[in-house]
Amino acid sequence: MKEEEKIIAPSADEGKNKDLAVTAETLEEPTEALKENATLTEEGRESVGERELGVAEETYKEMSPIRLVLRRFFRSKLSIVGIVMIAALIIFSVLGPVIFNRWGEETVDRGVYVSEDVNYYRQDDGNGGYVNVTEVVESEDGINRLADPSGDHWLGTDEKGMDVFVRLMYGGRISLLIGFIVVILETILGIIIGGLAGYFGGWVDNVLMRVVDVFNCIPTLPILFIASAAINSWGLTEDVNIYLLMVFITLFSWSGTARLVRGQILGLREQEYMTATEVMGYSPARRIFKHLIPNVMPQLIVSMTLGLGSVILYESTLSYLGIGVQPPKAAWGSMIALANRPEILNYHVNVWLPAGLLIVIAVLGFNFIGDGLRDAMDPKARK
């Protein structure tokens, strides 16, 4: 706000101040300086000109656009927090199981343990009221079920006697893997469809965009529910199921990317440099993929980062519903689903709460990074 006021009413004094500020900026950001120059008063411009003659060679440092973006990106505290969150998550889930290898993903802790079964009844007491009966049945079996956090099991065990902490790591691996693969696939699909529609226009655009509309109108969650139920019934191996799941999530989420690419290209197509490529006789493929798509990349990278969060949410929702990643494979969603049993919800918070927190961290991290990138890549941004 203050800056704007200065521009509106520049006094001679402020002109000089600005001038100083600009030269400080030239050390690192020549483009910013050029922009500022335009708003300077005449005397200011002169003095910059004089100084540039002498100092230009020493102070002028060329910065690539990528470095500029990175500088702006790291200025925001939230983006740094996001990077730290995601880095921690990747280390936790990728390196975690390698270091912390006492329990495997599907290792059941066997030993002689006393397990407790808690049952609840609600009985009529004959006078119109209710009596809540809590029944605790202790039994001995060979599996350490629903253990509390301890040195052995940092976050206890789940109802099958598997270590929660280790399963969180494996669940993270699968969530991140699905997230990255789906986002990459949907971006590729979106670039191809959106690129063709935006570049060629006319009937190609019409047909392709109606296809996009169709996919846009399909309710995502119910259709993914149907699709993954179908996948699970085909009797394929767990790994193949997961890959098919990725394909289906991609299939029902690429339409947004295609729209984004098309919209951007419609605008870029009319620019002069595109006329130049036409004059130079480049092939359409080269014009689309070499000259148009790179200019859409900033927006695409932002939407990819934000998309990662939503894919992770979809995957965990499907796993929660029991139709995503199938047990005994670990997934954050299916770990939270254990909370559907009242005794786990109430007495074994260690089983379901950490998985949910990790989902929040993952989505939050990717959103922070995405927001930071958007601000950093926005050419209109002043800072």
Binding site: K77, I218, A230, L313, T317, G356, I359, N367
Partner: protein
């Protein structure tokens, strides 16, 4: 304008045809169909033979799962749809349209309150966080609302149920009416019943609102920032208007323009119900019914529900485009 709407409606029909083909094919690929599930015990005990089962499937029009069988089933479904018949739900044993119409209102009741609250909270938050950009207030609201975006509804629902229903015992954990209570058949009884319903719906509404504020708040914030850097805001400031007047009289109205596009998403969310939230809280809305039908492979209901959502989306998009051209005269529909 009229020509535009007609053109869009015609296109919508083509789009909905595409949607229905995809949904129908996938639905038919679902495993464990209704007949198998319902009569598996009878088949095991020998009361029904496999031939009976197959005949029953033929009767329902889901016997042949080859390509031609699915195509035949689809055109049968489409033909009945054109006569205004969505078919009869396998699971609920009632016409699909009737089930949707009767359960929709629970979902609608939650959604309308949640949507109003969501707008009432998110828009002021978005504006203050834009006018105080990079302040503590901005960071706090941004982080809190972003956590809302990241929280899965079933997880947040579980926490809320544990804390408020189980540990504190303030609110019921689910359902729509208290069990074992009968209400008198008069006005007072109806009011008591309504109060009980509201009582049960507090938690689901709170969860829905908190989880959906984030998106809208971010959207408002971005719009407001964009508007605040426009030339006419600079002019308003230069005229010496008070900051309050600049923001609430000049900026605020223009920040609302892009919000018109949000109308596209509101229509399905108002009437479509919430699959997960309703299931977590055990509310007999359309979302829970659809969820149960999905597990049951109730093809007519699943088709009816998905098409209902798709139609709402199509209408919502059209509606938002028209609204956009109304609130922003620079936008021309063609």
């Amino acid at each position: 304008m009229f020509k535009y709407i007609v053109k869009r409606l015609l296109l919508s029909i083509i789009i909905l045809l595409g949607v229905s083909i995809i949904i129908y094919t996938l639905t038919r690929l679902m495993p464990a169909d209704y007949v198998d599930q319902t009569f598996s015990s009878k088949v095991q005990s020998g009361a029904m033979s496999m031939e009976d089962l197959q005949r029953y499937k033929e009767l329902l029009g889901i016997g042949d799962n080859s390509f031609t069988g699915i195509m035949k089933g689809y055109f049968g479904w489409l033909g009945r749809l054109l006569q205004g018949d969505l078919g009869r739900s396998f699971k609920y044993q009632k016409p699909v349209a009737e089930v949707i119409a009767s359960q929709m209102w629970y979902s609608f009741g939650i959604a309308i309150v949640a949507t109003i609250l969501q707008f009432a909270i998110a828009i002021p938050l978005g504006i203050t966080s834009a006018t105080h950009q990079y302040s503590v207030r901005d960071y706090v609201t941004t982080v809190l609302t972003m956590i809302g975006i990241g929280l899965p509804s079933y997880f947040f629902g579980a926490i809320v149920i544990k804390v408020f229903a189980v540990d504190l015992g303030w609110l019921p954990s689910g359902g729509i009416l208290s069990g074992g209570v009968t209400y008198a058949d008069n006005f007072a009884g109806m009011m008591a019943q309504f109060g009980d319903m509201v009582w049960h719906l507090i938690l689901p509404i709170v969860v829905t609102v908190l989880l959906s504020i984030g998106g809208l708040m971010r959207y408002t914030r971005t719009n407001t920032l964009e508007v605040l850097s426009a030339d006419y805001i600079r002019t308003a400031r230069a005229k010496g208007l008070s900051e309050k007047k600049v923001i609430y009289k000049h900026a605020f109205r223009n920040t609302l323009i892009p919000l018109a596009t949000l109308l596209a998403g509101i229509l399905p969310s108002l009437f479509g119900g919430m699959l997960i939230t309703e299931q977590v809280f055990g509310i007999p809305g359309i979302g829970k019914y659809a969820y149960d039908a999905l597990q049951f492979a109730d093809i007519p209901f699943v088709m009816g529900y998905n098409m209902f959502l798709a139609i709402l989306t199509v209408i919502g998009t059209l509606f938002s485009d028209i609204m956009y051209s109304i609130v922003d005269p620079r936008v021309k529909l063609k």
